[in-house]
Chain length 314, copies 2
């Protein structure tokens, strides 16, 4: 059987065609047109399987990730695509033209499932944190996505960390993790400390990569700001270790391109801040990057397939 | 069928005898003697069922709560009773003398399950916070206890809230929720602000109840300190709302005896600190109090019974 993983972003839709063995056979992208989105995805998929001589019966199901809050297949809120209480499962089914198995998740939650399944399918609980323009996340418990009562499960960017910088978050609050440890947060922190330490950076036009590169070259200001961001992230992780106490943390998003330089700092601060029993929790960098969402969709459908097979045996 | 719920405390063991309809038929306590504990509990139960003319076959199983960290039936750490990596399930089975269904949990996790099941069995996810000498907690997700990879799931007292008071926690860290919002934390806060505001309290010999009573009577210092504790708790809850995003919070422990006076403040600060989508999350005071653990044990065994029945039908 085959599985489609579909990751809907603000500008493009990533489509992955998988075997039910978790093997990605092919992937491609189409642009996101918000007015006829589901019809375009469905037409694209129908054309693809027709070309490949595959019937609908051979497709176990479809997993969709969307950049907004999801509850039971309904996009409760998706600012980028202008959705509020849109029944994505129903819309996509209608576009496909048959009663298919369709599951819908928040994109970061699906990415969490993808990375966790790919890195170690034995892990029972995993916390995934993406450090991009914002900070997102996803929590896996008993190999299920923690969606939350209102679709806020794993919205880790809004964990409150520290008021001292007085940075206002997009959500309107002060002190959210996102204001400190995101790509934009790291730039913000660097400018915040500009009078405290010397630097060779031109602060009017710096990117996160500039700060990371300068920190790697021991620039005093860049090193200090990057360190503060790592400490904030480690504090959030230490808190998560007494809430979920996961088998592993996975760090993704653009900032994770800093690689070992980032990982070493997070590890050091996390070990220092968490309870002794949690010091050995695995901390990993994400490996699937932009493909995490489609892999997550596949992982979820494979799990559903096992459930169907198990119940079928009864 | 019948179920035994057994809540092992530092000084006494509470035993509850239930019908599998969640009805508590009888309850009693025996003293905790750490050297022959399981034998004494087993003898007590055997004498009880013999007196009642009940056979082992009529007992579906036993749920045990212990005041320490538990992973897969093993007490990884229980300072009060001097246990480290003790296989509680095995020990209790040996003491019973037959191969019984025995499940072991951390006592706060079991209390969480008890309160959640009793208040609303429809809730899928619940965060339970106990404000006692320390701050404990338990998280229920998909009606399962979040035990955590190292048994640290729901150890909410060690969520980091604020360094500003510089209070050192029993765990060795600064800024844990437990140092601020526990019964002892509230007394500590009151003393911390003693030079800031007037009070009629004798700060050398105050209890948490004194502070609460004085706050209710508008004593300036007591009101301020109690308010700060409520804000710290509300901040922790707002963080939990973007991690787990539970259907409900339940507040228990001695401090919860402050009742509506506590609940109103927590509700106000939580609504202010959480994201808009989570403002309607239910906040409840615990109702089962000291019986929460034995009810939690019963709830878990009832769930297991349903699973057995379902699999049996196949």
């Amino acid at each position: 059987m085959y599985i489609f993983g579909i990751d809907i972003g603000g500008t493009s839709v990533k489509i992955g065609f998988f075997k039910d063995s978790f093997e990605l056979l092919e992937q491609w992208e189409i642009p996101t047109h918000s007015n006829s989105l589901f019809e375009e995805i469905a037409e694209n998929i129908k054309a693809y399987i027709s070309k490949k001589n595959i019937s609908f019966e051979e497709i176990f199901g479809y997993g969709l990730g969307i950049p907004g809050m999801v509850k039971n297949g309904i996009a409760t809120r998706c600012v980028n695509l202008g959705w509020e209480n849109v029944d994505i499962r129903q819309e996509f089914n209608k576009a496909l033209g048959y009663d298919a198995r369709v599951y819908v998740f928040n994109d970061a939650n699906l990415a969490a499932l993808g990375e966790a399944s790919y890195l170690n399918s034995k892990w029972d609980s995993v916390v995934f944190i993406t450090l991009g323009t914002g900070v997102g996340g996803g929590i896996i418990f008993h190999q299920e996505v923690v969606e939350g009562a209102d679709g806020l499960g794993g919205e880790l960017g809004h964990m409150h960390i520290d008021d001292k910088y007085n940075f206002t978050c997009g959500c309107g609050k002060i002190g959210c993790l996102e204001t400190i440890a995101s790509a934009t947060g790291i730039v913000r922190l660097t400018r915040y400390y500009k009078d405290k330490l010397p630097t060779r950076l031109d602060l009017n036009q710096i990117t996160t990569k500039d700060v990371v590169d300068a920190a790697k070259a021991n620039d005093p200001l860049a090193s200090y700001a990057f360190d503060e961001a790592c400490q904030a992230l480690a504090q959030a992780m230490a808190n998560l270790s007494v809430i979920i106490n996961p088998d592993a943390f996975i760090i993704g998003g653009g900032v994770s391109n800093a690689g070992a330089f980032l990982l070493e700092r997070i590890q050091k601060y996390y070990t220092n801040k968490c309870l002794e029993q949690a010091t050995h929790t695995k901390i990993n960098l994400a490996v699937l990057k932009n493909n995490a969402g489609i892999y997550g969709a596949c992982a979820y459908l494979i799990k559903k397939k096992h459930e169907v097979e198990k119940n079928g045996k009864c």
